[in-house]
């Protein structure tokens, strides 16, 4: 057992961090309008850069000999993109898509459940995606969004969102039979990985601030009561990271995927509360970068029925066959 990244994995993380340092970050996320109460936009430039650098298809390119995708490496990249506040559907592209298709479609993919589609629920990246995957009971249906009217949704939760105004024009261009369970497993891993990267960045942002910000003649971060709360946050992030990576490493077993999502999405709530409370008033302003990550944590908690859905999946995975 060894939790350290090997040399190749380390090189991948360093390379993607270099790219993200140039092409992503809080200023870029804010400039794209996803931090305001407006319809934000998608970072197509970053999407292309990740494609061109070969990161988007890393799961396939580094696949194991038996053909299973290199999901851990993909997870490391998604975690890095989330830390950098990237506004791209990397989680779907790198983690969900390779598990369902050998040759996933190009361009952003949006992901929703059948119920969400029927209810016209807002979906992340839908307004900019070229493909929509609808997760049904058993199958995943694939839709081309080119001729479909999608209304952008005004929100302040850090991601661009949209909803389909009329499903009349939405035609399936393919059905992935019996893929729904796989999609849900990988979707949960993706959420856990995204939440981990996002929480880490939020915590880093606030810890840095509290080391500098002085009240009562000393740095706020030097108060024991503050340190204890930040330490609790660090524990949550650390546990989320290893649960998410383990789930990816084992190719998203049902229970591990559900546990990773249930833990990370619950931790996201705590991280939101504590990072904002400890930052004080500046935490709610656009002058401070915390909002770039913190608001997203709440958005991630809404997907795939959130913490409740993930917890129900844990129960299903563990006790489905148990007789009462």
């Amino acid at each position: 057992m060894d939790f350290e990244l090997n040399e190749d994995q380390q090189a991948i993380v360093e390379a993607v961090d270099r790219l993200l340092a140039q092409q992503a970050g809080p200023a870029r996320a804010t400039a794209l309008g996803n931090s305001d109460t407006v319809e934000g936009s998608y970072d197509f430039a970053l999407h292309s850069a990740l494609d061109e650098a070969g990161f988007s298809c890393i799961a396939r390119d580094l696949a194991r000999e038996d053909g299973t995708p290199a999901a851990l490496e993909a997870a490391l990249i998604v975690e890095a993109v989330s830390r950098a506040g990237g506004v791209v559907a990397a989680a779907t592209q790198l983690l969900v898509a390779p598990a369902l298709l050998a040759e996933p479609p190009a361009g952003p993919i949006a992901l929703c459940t059948r119920r969400e589609l029927e209810q016209g629920t807002p979906v992340r990246y839908l307004a900019q995606a070229s493909t929509l995957w609808v997760v049904d009971e058993a199958a995943v249906t694939q839709h081309n969004l080119e001729d479909v009217a999608v209304a952008p949704v005004r929100t302040s939760f850090g991601y661009p969102m949209g909803r389909i105004e009329a499903t009349g024009n939405l035609h399936s261009v393919g059905e992935l039979h019996n893929a729904a369970a796989d999609a849900r497993r990988w979707w949960r891993v993706a959420l856990a990985v995204e939440a981990t990267g996002t929480m880490q960045a939020a915590l880093n942002c606030v810890v840095g601030y509290l080391k500098q910000r002085r009240q009562f003649g000393r740095a706020i971060g030097s108060f024991q009561a503050v340190q204890h709360r930040l330490s609790e946050c660090a524990i949550q992030v650390e546990a989320s990271r290893w649960l998410a990576r383990e789930a990816a490493y084992h190719n998203a077993p049902e229970e591990a995927a559900a546990v990773a999502a249930a833990f990370a999405l619950a931790a996201a709530d705590q991280l939101f509360t504590e990072t904002h409370q400890l930052s004080g008033a500046i935490g709610f302003t656009h002058d401070f970068d915390l909002h770039v990550w913190s608001m997203r944590l709440l958005a991630l908690r809404q997907e795939l029925d959130g913490v409740g859905g993930a917890r129900r999946a844990v129960v299903d995975a563990r006790w489905r066959d148990a007789t009462p």
């Binding site: 807002p122 929100t155 009240q215 409370q277 709610f284 656009h286 002058d287 029925d305």
Partner: protein, 371 residues
């Protein structure tokens, strides 16, 4: 022990409710920053009944009623989401009545009572939030005037207010709370600049810059370097109406209604979570009344108020966050009921004294813990 309002007080509550029926759609409690002219008109309408001066002494033109009436009034106003209680008629006016000169009382109290003059509280600074005694805005004596230089930060609604209630340093930096004075500053004075700080909820806070602002000595309230006790007393005057539980009760009612419109009201899990919140709302109401009771009996309400502030604000946030969770992605849409409630509750545990400061007050003054 008596937990009831008197029949006269209940009749007053009914009168307030009848008045507020015309303002059901005002939405000034959450939306003051976007509809100040309407909120201002609402205050003028209240002033026609002299309700802004409800518990001012009659010699200052008030009705001379007590804390209970004031609580009932602002609790109902909060429950109708009409407005937050204006600082001018509360903290500012009560300080002027207690410490102001006859000229200040004649000049400022009548327009405040009529709802025509409004103030923004200028206490916090970039480096002085929870540690208010460390503030640096300097007011230097220059004959019959003071010259004020420096910066304030995090002022709510300063963009709309007429006057500033400014806490400034007149002593040395080392004198901390013993070196502060209070000033009334016309926002239109030369050298005053209000700059917005956009916030993540689509609203704004403000920075207020003072560049050699000349303020007549006559606009200093109280003795020089005596402001610390003045602002403490003013805060104590307002404890029973700062966090009225009517707001939380209304939040609960609105959230239950929203869940019903989403056809979630019959879900047992949803019902269980809302039941937990309903209990917390009741706790909030009881602590709100406990603060009032301490005020009525002239007890020190500091600890009661700190407890109430924490429970009230945390319950607001818990309500909003729970419904945000239950509502799924739909609840993230801007201005939908849960999203709006969530947005409005974001800063509640920070503004008006952070939860951390409140906990320290409880630890020191109720539990006798050192530190």
């Amino acid at each position: 022990m008596n937990f009831n309002f008197s029949s006269e007080q209940l009749a007053f509550r009914d009168e307030v409710r009848e008045f507020l029926e015309d303002y059901r759609e005002l939405d000034g409690f959450y939306g003051q920053g976007h509809r100040w002219p309407q909120v201002r008109a609402f205050f003028c309408a209240m002033a026609e009944r002299n309700w802004l001066a409800l518990n001012w002494p009659t010699e200052h033109g008030g009705l001379g009623l007590g804390h209970v009436h004031e609580y009932i009034l602002w609790n109902e106003v909060a429950r109708y989401r009409a407005a937050r209680n204006p600082l001018a008629a509360g903290i500012v006016a009560k300080s002027i009545m207690r410490y102001g000169t006859p000229w200040q009382q004649e000049t400022y109290l009548p327009p405040i009572r009529r709802g025509e003059m409004h103030f923004s509280l200028c206490y916090s600074e970039p480096e002085a939030g929870s540690d208010l005694a460390g503030l640096r805005l300097k007011a230097e004596r220059d004959g019959d005037h003071y010259r004020i230089n420096g910066q304030k930060c995090w002022q709510s609604y300063a963009q709309d207010m007429d006057y500033l209630w400014v806490l400034a340093r007149t002593g040395t930096q080392e004198s901390r709370g013993r070196g502060l004075s209070l000033f009334i500053v016309d926002k239109a004075s030369a050298g005053v600049r209000v700059s917005p700080i956009p916030t993540v909820d689509g609203d704004q806070l403000n920075e207020v810059f003072f560049d050699d602002v000349v303020v007549p000595k006559a606009q200093r309230v109280g003795e020089e370097n005596s402001a610390w006790s003045i602002i403490g007393e003013a805060l104590a005057d307002e404890r029973h109406i700062q966090f009225p539980p009517g707001r939380v009760r209304r939040d609960l009612e609105d959230m239950v209604q929203w869940l019903n419109t989403q056809r979630m009201g019959n879900d047992p899990l949803v019902r269980a979570r809302m039941a937990e919140l309903a209990v917390r709302v009741r706790e909030t109401e009881m602590l709100g009344l406990k603060v009032l009771e301490s005020m009525v009996n002239a007890s020190n309400a500091t600890v009661d108020a700190a407890m109430n502030k924490i429970l009230h604000t945390v319950t607001c946030q818990a309500l909003a966050r729970t419904v945000l969770d239950l509502g799924g992605p739909e609840a993230l849409v801007y201005s939908h009921q849960p999203e709006r409630l969530w947005r409005q509750s974001l800063t509640e545990t920070i503004g008006g004294g952070t939860s951390e400061i409140m906990r320290s007050v409880i630890a020191r003054q109720r539990l006798d813990l050192e530190g």
